[in-house]
Every structure is written in C-alpha cells, then in structure tokens.
C-alpha cells in the first residue's frame, strides 16, 4: 500500500519520475527547481534508478537532449523554472511540434528583471502557446500524482505530446508535508513501457524535423492542434483510471462550494487551497463565495469552465492572475476566461485581479478583498476592462 510520508515536495516529484522509471534525465540547476534534479542525480548515482543523468551546460541543452532522447526511444524527463524555461523556449516549442513526449516539472517562478527567484506564474504564461499539455498542481500530493500520470498522458499513441506539470516554486517545492507515495508493485501496469512509433532506429530510418515549405506548414500545425485538442480524452481517461485504482480524483476544472456561490475566485496552483480556507471562514459570516480552479491549462477546458461558471448561481467570477500581459489586458487567465464565456448570454461578470507576484504572500484579507471587488462590480454593474492589482502600495 501507498505509504504516507513526510517529504519535501521536490523530492516527491523526483520520486514520481523515478517511479515512472525514466531513462534519461537532462537538467540544469535553477532555483527553486534544484532539489528535484539533485535527488534524481542521487538516485542515479546510488544505482537506485537505472537512467542516464546528463549534466547539461544550459536549459536550452536540457530540453534539446531530452527531445533527442525521447525520439531515440527513451523516456525523458527534465525540470526547470523561470529564466531556465525562458532560455529553453525555442526548444519547448519544437518539442511539441516534433511530438516528443518529454515530461517537465516546472517550479513556477517569476521572470527578471528585477531578478526574483520567488513564485508567480510569469514563466508558464510566457510558454502558454508552445503546444504543451500544461497542468497545475495545488499541493505536494497533486504534484506527485500528476507528474507520474504525465508520462502516461504524453506517451499515449493518440497524444505524443510533451507535458509540463506546474507547481509553485518554494511555496510547494521547498515544503515538507505528508504525501502518499506508491511502491512499484502498487502501480504495476498503470504506466505502459515507453513507445514512440517513429524512433531514430537504423533498422527503420525516418527523417525527423524536415523543412516545412509553405505548402506543408499549415497542415503540420493543424495536425498538432488537433493532437492537443484530442489529448483531452486521454487526459480524462488517465485521471479516471487513476481514481479507480488509487482513489484520488483529478478534474480539468475543480470547483469548491461553487454550486450556490454568488462570487467565485478563479485560481491556479497553490492559491486555490488558501482561497478555499477564506471561503470556509467567510461562509460563516453568510458570504456566498466559492472557488473554481483551472487545473488543466492546456488544452483549455472550455466546456468544463462554462459548466462550472454558468451554473445559474454565480454572478461574478473574479479571476486571479499570477502574471502580467503588459500593455494588453494585463490578466492572461482573465482574458481567456472572458473569451471562453464571450458568446454566452447567461455568463457571469468576469473581473480580473492580480496578486502574489514575485513571491509576495497573499494574505487572508487580500483574498477577501478580491471577492469583495467582485461584489462591488456586481453592485455597480460594471465589468472592469483591466485587472486590479491587489496588495499594491499606492
């Protein structure tokens, strides 16, 4: 049986990759991701994990080597943060375009400048359109489960796409907390052996990454787009199977006390549970608030979100963004939520807030303020165009 252990979340994520028996790990150190790859290096050094650990000279190479290994027939894993992800960006996009099912653990961190090693979602939002399946974890258990399941999702023959698991840097990575960890026998048969239909094999030579003249590029992109859209079926199936076997349920959109709520906060990542605590407290005072979390970021869960937000009760959805789209709508998630609901007549008002940038803690009263902002907008019947920054010194 799964053993409940107190463990640092980073170590648990590394153990999830080891549980998947990754063949190649290529990674470069960056705070706050380091403990993950350090632990994998240790497992390899001690012979506990039969894998090649490539100590690459940059994140760009980390992703390049993982891509190469993946298409050479090996299960490949990497992990990074922030500037590291930004440096990889070029190959992140290529990895999904070349259909290399690499799994990446992303310890979310802000982007420079000023340099900040602390948590927000600037890094993942910067990679929003790179064609990766992107999933958020709220706590250590989820980070562990989702990392393990990511291999099964990405490698599925109907998917063949890379998967990134997002979890908040420091806030999750450096925390020791209880996590149920599987032993090998327990997950037997859940994750099939790695298989890619077009590996680099001299017995059956294929050409990977050819030149896409204007005649072909559009078709190639359409095919990629269909692939990530279709991955949803596999994601749901894998999560369902996991639930049936291990009793933990994951959904593309998670709701908390949203059924009868008037105002909900739309969240991603570790703020979700904090918002739930706020809702619990404030419900005692009769405030009808709830939380809706967009766990599956890509492919975007349009239908689930519509169902969750247009439930006849919710009048205002306050979307908490942890990154900024400069000179644009400010809120990236807010824009997407608004766009997803655009053509619905019974849609709630969508209000954008941002907070917790660069590692600033979001305190209880600030969450309350976000919900209240939603209530104020409802009262004034005015949906603000732009995001309101909560917790800003003015």
């Amino acid at each position: 049986m799964a053993k409940r252990r107190g463990i640092e979340v980073s170590i648990a994520i590394a153990e999830a990759a080891a549980l998947a028996e990754v063949d190649v790990v290529s990674a470069y150190p960056i705070t706050p991701q380091t403990h993950i790859v350090e632990h994998l290096a240790e497992l390899v050094a001690n012979g506990e994990l039969n894998a090649e650990f490539i100590t690459v000279e940059s994140e760009h190479t980390a992703m390049s080597a993982a891509l190469g290994a993946s298409l050479a027939g090996a299960r490949a894993f990497t992990s990074t943060s922030s500037q590291g992800l930004a440096l990889m960006n070029e190959i992140v996009y290529i990895a999904s375009s070349m259909r290399a099912p690499v799994v990446m653990a992303l310890a979310n961190r802000s982007l420079s400048a000023p340099i900040s090693i602390w948590n927000d979602h600037s890094d993942v939002m910067n990679e929003r359109d790179t064609g990766w399946i992107s999933i958020f974890a709220n706590n250590g258990q989820e980070a562990y489960d989702l990392t393990f399941m990511a291999f099964k999702i990405g490698e599925h023959p109907d998917v063949l796409l890379p998967v990134m698991i997002n979890f908040d840097g420091f806030i999750l990575t450096h925390v020791v907390e209880p996590i149920y960890m599987f032993d090998k026998e327990e997950v037997e048969g859940f994750l099939p052996p790695y298989h890619h239909p077009y590996v680099l094999d001299p017995e059956r030579p294929v050409t990977h990454g050819p030149v896409g003249l204007p005649d072909i590029y559009t078709e190639a992109k359409k095919q990629q787009e269909e692939a990530i859209r279709n991955s949803r079926k596999v994601i749901d199936a894998v999560w369902k199977e996991f639930d049936e076997r291990f009793g933990r349920r994951y959904n593309a959109v998670e709701t908390y006390k949203a059924d009868d709520a008037e105002v909900v906060l739309v969240t991603q990542g570790s703020v979700t549970e904090a918002a739930q605590v706020v809702v619990d407290e404030m419900r005692k005072q009769g405030r009808k608030w709830g939380v809706v979390e967009i766990r599956l970021w890509r492919p975007f869960p349009f239908e689930d979100l519509k169902k969750a937000l247009c439930n006849g009760s919710i009048k205002c959805a306050v979307v908490l963004d942890r990154a900024i789209s400069f000179g644009g709508p400010l809120g990236i998630v807010m824009s997407e939520v608004r766009a997803a609901l655009y053509n619905l007549s019974d849609r709630p008002m969508v209000v954008g807030v941002t907070a917790g940038l660069g590692g600033r803690d979001i305190r209880f009263d600030e969450y309350v303020r976000m919900f209240e902002l939603g209530e104020e907008c409802l009262k004034e019947e005015k949906e603000p165009d732009r995001v309101i920054i909560v917790g800003l010194r003015e």
């Binding site: 375009s97 070349m98 259909r99 290399a100 063949l160 239909p197 077009y198 059956r204 030579p205 294929v206 050409t207 990977h208 990454g209 050819p210 896409g212 005649d215 072909i216 559009t218 078709e219 190639a220 359409k222 095919q223 269909e226 692939a227």
Partner: protein, 96 residues
Amino acid sequence: MKMKEKPKWYELLPGAVIDEPGNSVFYKTGDWKTLKPVVDKTKCIKCGTCWIFCPEYAYEKDEYGYFNPNYDYCKGCGICAVECPARCIKMEREED
C-alpha cells in the same frame, strides 16, 4: 514514392515525419544545368574520379566499367571535367 507532396493535414505523420528513407532520389535535379558533361570514352581510364567528386553521385558505372553521368541528377557543376585526370570530360551546352 508513396508520400504526397501536398498531403491533407490528417495524412501527415506526427511531427511531419518522413518515413521513406532517401526518397529525394525521386526529386530530379537534372534540369538545373546549362552545361552538361560529356565523356569521351576513348580517353577514359575508368578511374572513377568523376564518381568520387560528384556531389550528386550522378556518375554511374556501366557493365564495361565506364562512368556515365546520369543527366536526371547532374546539376552541371563541371567538377568532373576539371578533376578528370584523363581530361576526357567536356562540358557542352544543353540542346535548346
């Protein structure tokens, strides 16, 4: 060649992989040339210098040991004519 030049999107393999090794042999580059090599077999010593230096390996050895340019691929660069130790290759104009 079974791969299509202009496939529909669902006819592509994942990542636009090409699973037909070396199929560029179906792509003829012979119409690139304005001059074509002509071998004077009376002087040819059958050494294969033309063959080794041809970037297209357009030269093919025949049953008598002579090397003949395959005009389907020869781009007309003239390397063979310059390198031939027997000076038996001449670059001539393509006919109109």
